[in-house]
């Protein structure tokens, strides 16, 4: 495998603004759910003890849920961005 310098700086991406906006929206969505987790852990530990799935408590389910949700959001984001990049960069559109 060769490891030559890649022409990175010349890369032009018409979809970058659109992707940045989508990224921020998804970031806030995740941030709110994450804050919900931290808030529940700190201010309502008793609630965290409640069994919610197959006898497993909310703390485990919420914690694992945050990990799985991050993966899902990542996949959705990539799918939407790739679609938009293909559409905007092929047509040379810039919004």
């Amino acid at each position: 495998m060769l490891h030559e310098p890649a022409p990175v700086s010349e890369e032009k991406d018409n979809a970058s603004d659109w992707k940045a906006k989508l990224g921020i929206k998804l970031f806030w969505l995740y941030c709110v759910i994450y804050m919900g987790f931290v808030g529940t852990a700190v201010f309502s530990t008793k609630l965290m003890k409640k069994p919610v799935l197959g006898g497993t408590n909310l703390a485990i389910v919420y914690g694992m849920g945050l990990i799985v949700f991050a993966i899902l959001l990542g996949l959705i984001y990539n799918h939407l961005c790739t679609k938009k990049e293909d559409a905007m960069n092929l047509s040379g559109e810039s919004k």
Binding site: H3, F27, N57
Partner: protein, 636 residues
Amino acid sequence: MNYIANPIAIAIFLAFVGFVLGMSFYFARKARSAKNYFAAGGTIHWFVNGIAFAGDYLSAASFLGICGLIATMGYDGFLYSIGYLAGWIVALFVVAEPMKRLGKYTFTDALDSTFNSKGIQFMAAVSTLTVSIFYLIPQMVGAGSLVTPLLGLPQWMGVVMVGIIVITIVATAGMTSTTYVQFLKGGLLIIFSTVLSIGVLHKGLSTTPREETFVPREINAQTAMAGQLDDFSFVATITDEKTGQTFVKLTSDMVLEAETPPRAVASWWEVEGTKLIETQAKTVTSAGEELYNGAPKKAGLFKSVGRVIELPDGQTETGRLGVFKYFSTIQKSTIVRYPKSAIVSLNDSGDTVTLYRPQVTSGEDLMVPGQKFKIKDGMGKLNFISLMMALFFGTASLPHILIRYYTVPSQRDARKSTIVAIAAIGFFYVLTLFMGLGAMTLGVIDLGDGNMSAPLLAKSFNIVLFSIISAVAFATVLGTVSGLIVAASGAVAHDLMDNFLNIKMSDQGKVKAGKISAFVVGIIAILLGIVFQGVNVAFLVGWAFAVAASANLPAIIMLLFWKRTTAKGITWSIGVGMLSALLIILTSPSMYGQYGLDMSTAWHRLDNPGIISIPLSFLTLVVVSLMTKKQAAVTA
């Protein structure tokens, strides 16, 4: 615990390290230019880069530290898994593509892309160096921990060994070899952690302890203290001033394998009502000799701990369990653990005695936050929120993670590799819960070093699995340390020498400067690794995240999203964020403990600086940018 080197373990370990070094030399021939050295030529495939990201990220802190924390503190250790992974959301949605678009070799390039400011070049390089060194400490501590059970060597030798190997790797090939080492080890770590987790579920839970696990004996207090026992002789009682708890010292004549004739071995017992409960004791005599349960370490009297004493519905064994059944069963069980908070230190006629006492905890309490983070009091809440904040914002600010965006050809590849990383890392973090709880319930925790919980869990299954897991974990440290040293050497050679000091160097000169910097940073890392021996590595990484989030994140975010940001704003923000985080850490109770001072005399009670230093860094950037706006406009 007494560690004896195993030939199989040594063979597997040496083969693995030899392979990694061979790979490094192979790629060395391809790394001739600066771009190849620092950014692997920008042509790494996104999938390889994604797994290498995971390799970089799943450092000693994740495998050794988190598993160790879960094993000793339960759910609180898992909070690190959640926070570390959540941080990738910031990296993916906010930082990945713009960083790729703006940068060339280093994170400083990206920050400085629109300003060409000497201030930014200097502060960003210093911040990269500081964060890299903070992150290096736990890696080196982890390396030392691993080498002891694997090769039977002392901790410091492990640290020195990693230092030398890594300096060799980095000084030969730079980012290319680092990437492939990370790819290999990231993949192997996930595969073998999966095997280990399946093993834990397959074994299930049992109230019958393993032969190697410590089970405290109980004797009648009155009889023992009256000297009426055949096996023990009463020596003394000592009351701990802090807790008011009384302990009894007894001796018994024992023939130790390594010694003849019989010697009097001292044991320490906690008075509980009419009973004496046995503790495990480490004694450092006034002559400097270390005794474990009254005998030298090689006698093997000091045992591993952690066990289930009660299962739901009076069961004694569960057999194989499913994922949710495993968690719900632990929630309904009762577990004996040995938290740091239960450790007592006594002075016995000049000898320092550390007593490890069992603490019975309900599974229900263990499986929610609260064992490590005392979230019931105000300062505990603040510390907890501060840590979760630093973990969330720290990932996207780590220089050795940021430079990996420059190793792929395009922004799309940067994004895709981040998603591969999130999936791989997320999956691994789910596994940490099984490995940590497995170590806790199967009684493999080493009281002297909780960081070894996951490898020792593997050892409880079989020696081959232990050897492979340890070799992979060692390679984990090698890879992460390599990445950090590349980032640090880039900061010195490229940002400081080339950009800031304007020292004109040929392409090969830059690579040479990078390699010399790698050597110096490596030596610093070795020294710090020895100093911080025994401290939980996940906890130490929490500090690195806090410094990174405070120094770098406000600058990155505001540069990308606030048009009024000025060069001076960025420079001041990095400086204030970094210094305030460092000041809070260096004056924190945990550091006081590290200095050997009374923790209660620390300047403040905040162990995690993020909640103060991150907003302060943002505020500094805004205020200084607004103040220097006119100046910037005139200059432009």
